[in-house]
């Protein structure tokens, strides 16, 4: 009886592990897309040029879902409260702090942090050019993330279950 319960627990945990991995693969392209959505909002606001960066960030924070929400809310807060610190430092800090809560990986992180280097410190045309460039980079990453999703999502799920089953058979 006890053996049976143990086997079930092993099977359950490996399955859960597999599903979590699979979810990460599914979430990544979705979150990249969300980031891109936020960037196009910034783009619209900047091309009108009437709102300040902290106001834009706050508005995006209100409109978007997690984890983009907390990134922008935090950034808006830093822009407002941190006295005399450069825009890039505020942005980088917000990114570093919210990153663990996302399923995003290193390439996107680099693109997004890099984007912060030019944010808010040049004229409108320059801003729009940088935004377009960041969008393209993210698009490429999104494509890659989708490929990975197709390839590994199902595999992770079945590997979880099958791996559990293997362990159970071996030790039973």
């Amino acid at each position: 009886m006890l053996k049976m319960v143990g086997a079930c627990m092993i099977l359950l945990s490996t399955t859960a592990f597999g599903f979590r991995k699979a979810r990460a693969y599914a979430e990544r392209p979705r979150q990249i897309r969300q980031m891109r959505g936020a960037l196009s909002l910034i783009r619209t606001e900047i091309s009108f040029g009437s709102r300040r960066l902290d106001q834009i960030c706050e508005q995006i924070g209100h409109r978007e879902k997690e984890p983009v929400r907390s990134l922008y809310t935090r950034c808006a807060q830093y822009l407002r409260e941190m006295d005399g610190v450069s825009t890039f430092e505020c942005w980088k800090r917000a990114v570093e702090e919210t990153w663990p809560a996302t399923e995003l990986k290193q390439p996107e992180k680099e693109v997004i942090i890099d984007f912060g280097k030019t944010l808010g410190i040049s004229d409108r045309e320059d801003q729009l050019a940088h935004l377009a460039r960041t969008q393209t980079h993210l698009e490429v990453e999104e494509g890659r993330a989708r490929e990975e999703q197709e390839r590994y999502e199902k595999m992770c799920k079945s590997l979880g279950i099958l791996g559990g089953a293997l362990i159970v058979i071996l030790i039973y």
Partner: protein, 320 residues
């Protein structure tokens, strides 16, 4: 009162300015920040450099030299991280901040098809502290508004002698009806100096019945106000160009009174400028006020009437 000015200074410079003796701090007129050049502060009486320990020094090599980072942080603070929203301001070369103070900018200018597009690599800042002196014009009222009647008036003065301060106070007095009947006032504030608007809201007290067209070209603005806001008094800063003169004619013939200013050290100098000479010849202005700095900014040098004969000639202090 200096809080909005301190807000745009990077921490390193802010500390130095805050540690100034209160006598200097209270009368600060300008703070000049230049990359790799000593930090300079100016009061109406003197200008000196600030050393890294916050002492006032006259020798330039002892002064604190703001570096590139200081300048960038300052620009960040002025633009509130949104330089793209300041395009118009960068084209004109100055930004008005909260409290009506203004920051003049210099650096590398980007030119497109022969016109200034904006300033890149901003390396020089001139923080001009705006001081509203309420009551600065009160002592002048008997001379320029005899019996509470509005007359067209021209204030002539060299730069930094308090002409905008005087004009602002006159605007406030006429609009709020201090000792005279109050009237509707329209202000065309091309350089955001009279009302010091931030996002369209006047930062100085220009009276309750005042409409301000902020950042609007003078000639066009005067006509716009006459058509849309039916002012009884128009207030315009620094006329001088030909089209300004024409707009002034239009305005006074539309039955609106006008207070305005012009740069110049004396009446002869002003009369030599083509845009203004014609106005003087036609007798458009009933009063001319000549300012100087002899006894501090805002010293009244003389007041003339329509025929340029002096109504009053003495060094009256207005305390601008």
């Amino acid at each position: 009162m200096l809080a909005p000015v301190l807000e745009v200074l990077p921490l390193s410079i802010r500390g130095l300015v805050e540690s100034l003796p209160s006598r200097v701090y209270e009368s600060l007129e300008e703070i000049r920040v230049r990359q790799e050049s000593p930090l300079e502060v100016a009061t109406p009486f003197q200008s000196m450099f600030l050393s890294p320990s916050g002492r006032m020094v006259t020798r330039e090599r002892e002064g604190y030299r703001p570096n590139r980072e200081d300048c960038q942080k300052m620009l960040n603070l002025i633009s509130r991280h949104s330089l793209y929203a300041l395009e118009e301001e960068l084209r004109r070369g100055y930004v008005t901040i909260r409290g009506g103070h203004r920051v003049g900018l210099s650096g590398r200018v980007v030119v497109e098809t022969g016109k200034v597009k904006h300033i890149r690599d901003v390396t020089g800042f001139n923080l001009r502290v705006a001081r509203q002196v309420k009551g600065a014009a009160r002592r002048l009222l008997p001379w320029i508004l005899p019996g509470g009647q509005l007359e067209n008036m021209l204030i002539v003065s060299p730069p930094q002698c308090g002409k905008t301060t005087l004009l602002r106070d006159l605007t406030r007095i006429v609009s709020s009806g201090e000792t005279i009947p109050s009237r509707k006032v329209g202000v065309v504030d091309e350089r955001s100096e009279i009302a010091g608007c931030v996002e369209g809201v006047p930062q100085h007290d220009v009276g309750p019945r005042t409409d301000v067209l902020d950042g609007c070209p003078k000639a066009e603005g005067m006509m716009m106000l006459i058509r849309s806001m039916s002012p009884e008094l128009l207030v315009v800063d620094e006329i001088g160009r030909q089209e300004d003169g024409e707009a002034v004619f239009e305005a006074v013939h539309a039955g609106v009174s006008l207070f305005t200013t012009a740069h110049g050290g004396s009446m002869e100098e002003v009369c030599r400028r083509p845009g203004i000479a014609q106005l003087v010849r036609e007798g458009v202005f009933a009063r001319y006020i000549l300012l100087s700095r002899k006894q501090g900014p805002g010293t009244i040098e003389a007041i003339y009437d329509r025929g340029l004969s002096p109504v009053k000639e003495s060094g009256v202090e207005t305390g601008c």
